[in-house]
């Protein structure tokens, strides 16, 4: 019998079922049960009445937004310089930018914390943002760099030819054309920072709790149902941010590579 082409996808389908769909279903099932296994919405409603959890959630969003903005502010100019042949003629520099990604993020964070201790810097929000930006900057630089690199230089020339100053060329041509890279970079930085907990633990001495920390605490203390409910809420929020740029998501994929 001839094997149909579609049957090649079977292993992947099973993988997705086991490791993506099933855990998601389990999270939803746990979130909608109480500890004795009865259906309930209490876990969800508990979150909305839990002032502590709500403020942590707000803080998490705030930190994630701040981190994303910092990464964008630092990352875009870096990507622009790297993609510009006038300033950077070798591919080595971009590798140097990506190089920190080769080292485990946890180890880097621990090392950063040690560095702050050695320098006598008090751990707090400042060090948290520093550590996050340090960890996630490459995720912002790379997709933007990839898009900028692919933009035909004749667009900028055409704009200049039509009377645009270098600043106007950037604002009216380069920036809009690099939007898919920005969107993809923003998502790659924003989504993991909302849920991170290790960085806040190490770089603030657990002084600042993020949403991920609360989930981790609940699950560590065997409060599976509430932990699952919190995870579900976070998933929904992240899902919404993903839908938010639905229109340009295919373009964003190009930027990721």
């Amino acid at each position: 019998m001839k094997i149909k082409r579609s049957s090649w996808s079977l292993p992947y389908f099973i993988f997705l079922l086991l490791f993506v769909a099933l855990p998601l279903v389990l999270i939803a099932v746990y979130a909608l049960q109480d500890s004795s296994g009865r259906f309930t919405l209490d876990n969800i409603s508990r979150f909305f009445s839990d002032a502590d959890a709500l403020s942590t959630f707000a803080l998490s969003l705030e930190v994630a937004i701040e981190n994303t903005l910092i990464c964008l502010a630092l990352g875009y100019p870096a990507a622009w310089i790297l993609a510009n042949r006038k300033y950077n003629s070798s591919a080595v520099t971009i590798i140097l930018f990506i190089l920190p990604m080769w080292i485990n993020a946890l180890m880097r964070t621990l090392a950063t914390a040690e560095l702050f201790n050695m320098l006598g810097v008090t751990l707090g929000k400042g060090t948290l943002l520093f550590g996050m930006a340090y960890d996630y900057l490459p995720f912002m630089v790379y997709p933007i760099y990839n898009i900028l690199k692919k933009i035909d230089p004749s667009y900028a020339e055409a704009a200049e030819d039509l009377g645009a100053t270098p600043l106007k060329v950037f604002l009216k041509v380069t920036l809009p054309l690099s939007a898919p890279g920005i969107i993809s970079g923003v998502m790659m930085v924003f989504m993991p920072t909302v849920s991170t907990f290790a960085i806040s633990e190490f770089l603030t001495n657990s002084k600042i709790k993020l949403f991920g920390t609360i989930i981790q605490e609940n699950i560590n203390s065997s409060m599976w149902n509430y932990g699952a409910a919190l995870s579900l809420i976070m998933l929904v929020i992240i899902g919404i941010t993903t839908l938010f740029d639905n229109k340009s998501s295919s373009a964003a994929q190009e930027g990721v590579i």
């Binding site: 004749s154 667009y155 020339e157 055409a158 039509l162 009377g163 106007k168 009216k172 054309l177």
Partner: protein, 460 residues
Amino acid sequence: MENYIIDIQHLSKSFGDKKVLRDINIKVRKGEFVTLLGPSGCGKTTILRLIAGFLAPNEGTILLDGKDIGNLPPYQRPLNTVFQRYALFPHLDVYDNIAFGLKLKNVPQKDIDAKVRKVLRLVNMEDYEERDVDSLSGGQQQRVAIARALVNKPKVLLLDEPLAALDLKMRKDMQIELKEMHEKLGITFVYVTHDQEEALTLSDTIVVLNEGKIQQVGTPTDIYNEPVNSFVADFIGDSNILDGTMLCDRKVKFIDEEFDCVDEGFGENTPVEVVVRPEDVNIKKDKSKAQFFGTVTSCTFKGVYYQLFINTDKGYELMVQDYHKFEVGDRVGMQITPENIQVMHKERTCNSFKAVVVDSNHLEMLGGVFECCKTDIEPGTKVRAEVDFDKIDLMDHQDEGSAAGQVHSIIYKGNHYHLTILTDKRKHIFVNTNDVWDKRDLVGIRIEPKDIKIVEVNED
């Protein structure tokens, strides 16, 4: 003195140590359609980019309306460019692409609307304002690109091979439209192309370029009828390029026959090159009126005319166009009218190389060491070595010769090929051969010791 809108003086440009333009001088009158024509790599696009301001010249000045624009950035030059691959902004629709330049100049919205609509009508693209540029065909994108440039009312419109990406039929239509637009608007056009037919169709003036140098400037008819050298004759249209001798004023000998011509002042028995266009070789029914005879070796129908190859009795091959069909093997008599024989100075009669004496019988030149006849000249002395065109042997493999090179151009001269070889050190060698080579073939260069003449000893 006449007023020129563009006056390019002594323009030179190098990329690294490669000279791409040497001492370019071009004058463009207001409203003129000037075409820069040449093969790829001749520097024509570089000139356009220098005028537009995307490149800075190493030497020379570019005057626009008498003012030096050399130091102005592109956005301050009152010129607009139509790019080869259009470069329409993919994030903007047709309207916003065209309005781009006007918005930058803060033109009121009402005027922008009117101007965009007007220019869209000019390029026959009404009702396309809202369209995405990606959804347009190549020809439509081309029109939008032209509209985007024209709407700014530039003093000069620069066009960089704008029709190269279109298919033949579309290209022909656009040529006619461009010509009409030029006549209607009165804007000066500077047009870059490698397509000689396009240049002949469109231009008021053609500037023929090769290897960074201007070969000839003239009207299409001048360039076609009176090419100044074999490069121009070969590049523009079909032609028979032949070696000849100017016997005296108004008498020239080529293909081993003597012809009357109209050229004077070449001196007596001067080697020259002769160009005869295929349509100017007349096949005479009345054989008594023929000047020379030959046998048809091929006859191909080309639509309006037949293209024939004829071997003359004296052993030369000529390309001939005629409206009548002939059979292979037909014997024909031919005649050429004096006005249709274009006589050109021979640029060179033999190769002349810079060389350095290595020892009593070796010379270093062209990036290799060549054996030569015994010489008393002190080793290390700079000399000049001369070698006849037909005394250079080309080898199939580069390492078989004393120096290596690549076939750069080929001109058929009726009974032999005249090749230009470019050595690894970018030196030109000219070779006459009966062997068939192709462009870009890699060759080894060998010269018999007795054929190298050491002619001049430079004391310094």
